[in-house]
C-alpha cells in the first residue's frame, strides 16, 4: 500500500470511529436525557413562572393593603376630628341658648327703663321751654341796665375833666404869681448889690483896696550873702520873708526894714519859699535835695521832707489846707507831701523839669511851668495831667496865681510874661518890653493884689511894672545893681519887694 492509501485508510478508520462514538454516546443517550430533562426543565420553568406570578400578585396585594390601611388611618383621623368638632358645636349651642335667654331678659328690662326715661325726658323738655322764656326776659333787662350804666359813667367823666381843667388854671395862675414875686425880689437885690457900700472895718475889705503904682524905693537891705533867690510876704501882712544862698531864712518888718527873725537848719541854699495860709509854717526848698518846714513861732524845723534826688527848685503849699505841700525838683519829679503823715503821698514824673509851680485856690490842682515852655495842670490826688498849654517858646521861670484865682501869670526866658485863664488855659494878655530880660531860670514875677498890675525883674537890675488893664508899662524901678531874681507884692497892696543876685532886698512903695 502506498503511503497515500495508508493515509486514506487511516482517515476513513478515524471517521468510522467518530461515527461509532456518536452512536454510542450522544446518539444513544441524547433522546432519553432530553426526554427526562424536559419535564424538569419545563417544570422548573413552569414553577418559576408560577412563583414569579404569585410573587407579583403578592406584592400588588401588599401595595393595595398599604394603600387601604393609609386611607383607613386618614378616615379614622377625620372621623375623630369630626366627632370632636361636633361635640364642641353642641356645647357651643347650649351656651348660646343660655346667653340668648339672658339677653332676652336684659332686653325686656331695658325696655321698661327706656319707657321711664322717655317720660322723664318729656317732663324736662317742658321745663326747659319755660326757662328759656325767662332767660330772654332777663337778658333784655340786662342790656337796658348796661346802657344806662354807660351813660352815667360818661357824664361823670365829663364832670371830672372839667374839674381838672379848672385846677390847672388855678395852678398856672399861682405859679405865675410866684414867679413875678421872685423876679421882683431879684431886681431889688441886684439894685442893692450894685450900689453896695463897702465898709472898711468889715472883713475882706482889703480886697477892695487899690494898689498904688510903686515908684520910690523905701528900704534897701543887704539880706543875704551870696544872693537871695526867694522872697515872699506873709499872708495879709507886711512881714517879709527871704531865703538866700547863705542857708538862712530871715523875716523882716517891711515898714521899718529891720530883721525880726532868722530861721536856720537848711542844709543848702534856699531856692524857693512857701507859707501856709495860717502863717504858721514856712516851707523852704533847698538845693540839698530836701525841703524844710519851720514852725514860725518856735523857729524850729518841724519836718524835713526827703525823697528828691536833685535840688528842689520850687515849692508851694495849698491855700485851703496847710496839709498839702507840692515841690518840684530837678530830678524831673513833682512830689505831693502830706505834712500830717509826714511823707510823700504822690510823685508825678515828667520828662521836662519843672521850674515853678503853684496851687489852685481849691487846693486840688497844681499849675506847673516847665523847661520846655509848657504850662501844665495836674490833679494832685490822682497825679494825672489835666491839661497843658504851650505857654512860651523857652523855659518858664515863674508861675503865680492871681488873688481871685482865675488867672495865672507865667514868665519865661523868652522875656515875655503871659496871663492865662486857669480854666480855659487861654492867653489873657502878653507883656514884654525891650530891655526886660529874664535873669535866670527861676526869676519870679508877681501880680498885684488888685489883679491889675504885674511886676517883673530884669537882668539889668531894673523892675518893670505893667498895667493889665492898660496892657502897658506904667513904671520902671531902678535901684538894683545886680540882676533881679524875685519880686513879691504884699497882700495889703504895698509895698513891693525885690531881691537880686547880690542878696540885696529893696522895698518899693
Amino acid at each position: 500500500m502506498s503511503q497515500e492509501e495508508v493515509a486514506i485508510e487511516a482517515i476513513k478508520h478515524a471517521l468510522k470511529a467518530l461515527k461509532k462514538r456518536h452512536l454510542v454516546e450522544e446518539g444513544a443517550h441524547a433522546p432519553a436525557y432530553i426526554a427526562l430533562s424536559r419535564p424538569i426543565i419545563s417544570q422548573g420553568s413552569e414553577w418559576k413562572e408560577k412563583a414569579e406570578n404569585l410573587e407579583m400578585e403578592l406584592q400588588q396585594c401588599y401595595k393595595a393593603q398599604s394603600r387601604l390601611s393609609e386611607q383607613l388611618v386618614v378616615e379614622v383621623a377625620e372621623s375623630r376630628a369630626l366627632k370632636a368638632s361636633l361635640q364642641e358645636k353642641e356645647t357651643a349651642l347650649a351656651e348660646m341658648e343660655k346667653e340668648m335667654t339672658q339677653t332676652r331678659d336684659e332686653c325686656s328690662r331695658l325696655k321698661a327703663d327706656l319707657e321711664e326715661k322717655v317720660k322723664a325726658l318729656e317732663l324736662v323738655l317742658g321745663e326747659r321751654e319755660e326757662l328759656k322764656a325767662q332767660l330772654e326776659q332777663l337778658t333784655i333787662r340786662a342790656t337796658n341796665a348796661e346802657a344806662e350804666n354807660k351813660k352815667l359813667v360818661d357824664r361823670w367823666m365829663l364832670q371830672k375833666m372839667q374839674d381838672a381843667e379848672r385846677l390847672n388854671e388855678a395852678n398856672a395862675l399861682y405859679e405865675d404869681m410866684i414867679e413875678r414875686l421872685k423876679a421882683s425880689g431879684l431886681e431889688k437885690l441886684a439894685r442893692e448889690q450894685v450900689d453896695g457900700i463897702v465898709r472898711r472895718s468889715e472883713e475882706g475889705a482889703e480886697f477892695f483896696s487899690e494898689s498904688t503904682v510903686p515908684s520910690v524905693c523905701k528900704h534897701r537891705i543887704n539880706a543875704h550873702e551870696g544872693g537871695c533867690a526867694s522872697i515872699m510876704f506873709e499872708n495879709s501882712s507886711g512881714r517879709l520873708i527871704s531865703g538866700g544862698q547863705d542857708r538862712s531864712i530871715k523875716l523882716w518888718d517891711s515898714t521899718t526894714g529891720s530883721l525880726s527873725q532868722s530861721l536856720f537848719g537848711c542844709l543848702g541854699s534856699v531856692l524857693d519859699l512857701a507859707i501856709t495860709h495860717d502863717n504858721r509854717s514856712i516851707i523852704a526848698a533847698s538845693s540839698s535835695n530836701n525841703l524844710f518846714v519851720w514852725d514860725v513861732n518856735s523857729g524850729r524845723v518841724r519836718h524835713t521832707l526827703t525823697g528828691h534826688t536833685d535840688k528842689v527848685c520850687a515849692v508851694d503849699v495849698s491855700k485851703v489846707s496847710s496839709r498839702h505841700v507840692v515841690s518840684a525838683a530837678y530830678d524831673r519829679t513833682i512830689k505831693v507831701w502830706d505834712l500830717q503823715k509826714g511823707f510823700c503821698t504822690n510823685t508825678i514824673m515828667f520828662h521836662s523839669n519843672c521850674n515853678a509851680l503853684c496851687f489852685s485856690t481849691d487846693g486840688l490842682t497844681i499849675c506847673s511851668g516847665h523847661v520846655d515852655g509848657n504850662l501844665r495842670l495836674w490833679d494832685i490826688q490822682t497825679g494825672k495831667l489835666l491839661s497843658e498849654v504851650a505857654a512860651h517858646s523857652l523855659a518858664i521861670t515863674s508861675v503865680s496865681l492871681s488873688r481871685n484865682g482865675n488867672v495865672v501869670l507865667t514868665s519865661s526866658r523868652d522875656n515875655s510874661h503871659n496871663l492865662f485863664d486857669i480854666r480855659s488855659l487861654e492867653v489873657c494878655g502878653t507883656f514884654r518890653t525891650t530891655g526886660s530880660r529874664v535873669a535866670s531860670n527861676w526869676s519870679r514875677s508877681c501880680i498885684s493884689p488888685d489883679d491889675n498890675q504885674i511886676a517883673a525883674g530884669s537882668a539889668d537890675g531894673s523892675i518893670y511894672i505893667w498895667s493889665i488893664s492898660k496892657g502897658d508899662i506904667v513904671s520902671t524901678l531902678k535901684e538894683h545893681t545886680a540882676p533881679v531874681l524875685c519880686c513879691a507884692w504884699s497882700g495889703l497892696g504895698k509895698p513891693l519887694a525885690s531881691t537880686d543876685k547880690n542878696g540885696v532886698v529893696c522895698t518899693w512903695t
Partner: protein, 356 residues
C-alpha cells in the same frame, strides 16, 4: 466537514450524583442525567444541574465543583478530554459527583462561574494564535460582539456561528490534500481561504496528557483506577509540520513529542505492543497553566521543563483524540484540521505503561 460536525455534536452522558455531605433532605435526590458537550467545560453545566438539587442544598453560597472517583476535575480542561483521560474503559453514562461546598482550593484553581471559563477559553485561543502566527493580535483586536458571539457559539454548540466568527481570525490551517479525498462535500471552507494560510511551516498547538501506569494490564478494564493527578503528566508543546513532508503522520508527531518512547524508529514496530524501556522517574506535573502565552518563538512553554520528560522505557498503550483511537498512520495534518477543539488546540490523551 463531516468530521468537524461529529466533533462539535459530541456529547457525553453524565450521571451526576450529589455528594452525601451536601444532602439535607430525605430521601436523597436522584442523580441528574445531563448530556455534556465534549467541547464544553464542566462549570457551564451548573445551571442545568442546580434545578435538580436546589431543594436539597444546605443554605449558603454555592461553589460548584465535580469529582470522579475522588479526583477533583480540573474545570479548564474540556469535558471530552477529561472523559477520555480518566475513563480508560468509557463508562456510559459517566458517574461523577457534584459538590456545592468545600471547594478544594489546594487542588483546583478558583472558578467564579461562566466568566472564568470564558476567559480561560479566550486565553487558550490567544496562546494558539501566538503559536500559529507568531502573535495574537487578531484575537486581541476582536470586537466585543465578536468575542461574545464566539463564546456563545461554543457554549451552545453552534458550529455555523463559530465558523462565521473564527473565519475573521484568519488562523492558519494546514494544507491537507486529504481534505478533498475524504469528504464528498468538498470546497467547504474550513473557515478561511488558503491564500492567507500558505505557511511553509505550520505549528500545531498541542496539549498532551500522558497517564503513566506502573502495573501491567492487557485489557483496558483491567486497568487500575486513577486516583490522583500525579499520575498524569501534561505537555504543552507544539508540533511543526513541514510542507515538504507529504506524509507527516500521527506517529511522527508523537515521536517529536515523546521521543523517549520511540527508541527504535520503525513505523510498524510502534503498534501497541510491549516494548521494554528503562526505568523512569516520574515527575508530577500538576497545574496546567493555560493562561501563559508562549513568549519564546518556536520554543515550548512548559510549566515544569523537566516534567516534559516521560520516563524512557515506557510503552504506549493507548492514544485517544476526541474519544476515538486513530491509527498511527493517519496524516497529522488531517488530524490537525479536523480534530481540534474550538480553542484551536489539539488535546491528545496517551496511556503509557512504565516499567517498574
Amino acid at each position: 466537514m463531516e468530521a468537524q460536525k461529529y466533533v462539535w455534536e459530541g456529547a457525553i452522558p453524565l450521571q451526576i450524583h450529589l455528594h452525601e455531605s451536601q444532602v439535607t433532605a430525605l430521601p436523597p435526590p436522584p442523580p441528574a442525567l445531563i448530556l455534556a458537550p465534549r467541547i464544553g467545560y464542566m462549570p457551564l453545566l451548573a445551571s442545568l444541574i442546580k434545578p435538580y438539587f436546589s431543594s436539597t442544598l444546605p443554605p449558603g453560597v454555592d461553589t460548584i465543583w465535580f469529582d470522579y472517583n475522588g479526583i477533583p476535575l480540573k474545570w479548564y480542561v474540556p469535558t471530552g478530554v477529561l472523559f477520555d483521560l480518566l475513563c480508560p474503559e468509557p463508562e456510559r453514562p459517566w458517574n461523577i459527583t457534584v459538590h456545592f461546598r468545600g471547594y478544594p482550593g489546594n487542588v483546583l484553581i478558583p472558578c467564579e462561574g461562566e466568566d472564568s471559563v470564558k476567559w480561560s477559553f479566550i486565553n487558550s485561543l490567544k496562546e494558539a494564535a501566538y503559536i500559529m502566527n507568531g502573535n495574537c493580535k487578531n484575537v486581541m483586536n476582536m470586537s466585543q460582539s465578536d468575542q461574545s458571539e464566539l463564546w456563545n457559539s461554543v457554549m451552545n454548540g453552534n458550529l455555523e456561528a463559530y465558523q462565521r466568527v473564527s473565519s475573521k481570525l484568519k488562523l492558519a490551517t494546514f494544507d491537507d490534500e486529504y481534505r478533498t479525498l475524504c469528504s464528498q462535500k468538498s470546497q467547504q471552507s474550513f473557515g478561511e481561504t488558503d491564500l492567507t494560510a500558505q505557511v511553509n511551516t505550520g505549528r500545531v498547538p498541542i496539549r498532551l496528557y500522558v497517564l503513566s501506569i506502573r502495573e501491567d494490564f492487557d485489557d483496558l478494564d483491567e486497568m487500575p483506577r486513577i486516583d490522583c493527578w500525579e499520575k498524569i503528566s501534561y505537555i504543552n508543546r507544539p508540533v511543526e509540520i513541514h510542507q515538504e513532508d507529504t506524509c507527516f503522520t500521527l506517529h511522527d508527531a508523537l515521536k517529536t513529542l515523546l521521543p523517549e518512547l520511540f527508541s527504535d524508529e520503525s513505523l510498524t514496530n510502534v503498534k501497541l505492543g510491549g516494548v521494554d524501556f528503562q526505568d523512569a522517574v516520574r515527575n508530577p506535573n500538576e497545574d496546567v497553566s493555560s493562561d501563559k502565552v508562549v513568549e519564546d518563538h518556536g520554543k515550548n512553554a512548559h510549566k515544569h521543563p523537566e516534567a516534559g520528560h516521560i520516563s524512557s522505557g515506557g510503552e504506549i498503550k493507548l492514544i485517544r483524540i476526541q474519544g476515538i483511537e486513530p491509527k498511527l498512520e493517519i496524516p497529522f495534518s488531517w488530524v490537525a484540521n479536523n480534530l481540534i477543539n474550538p480553542d484551536y488546540f489539539l488535546h491528545i490523551c496517551v496511556y503509557v505503561k512504565v516499567a517498574q
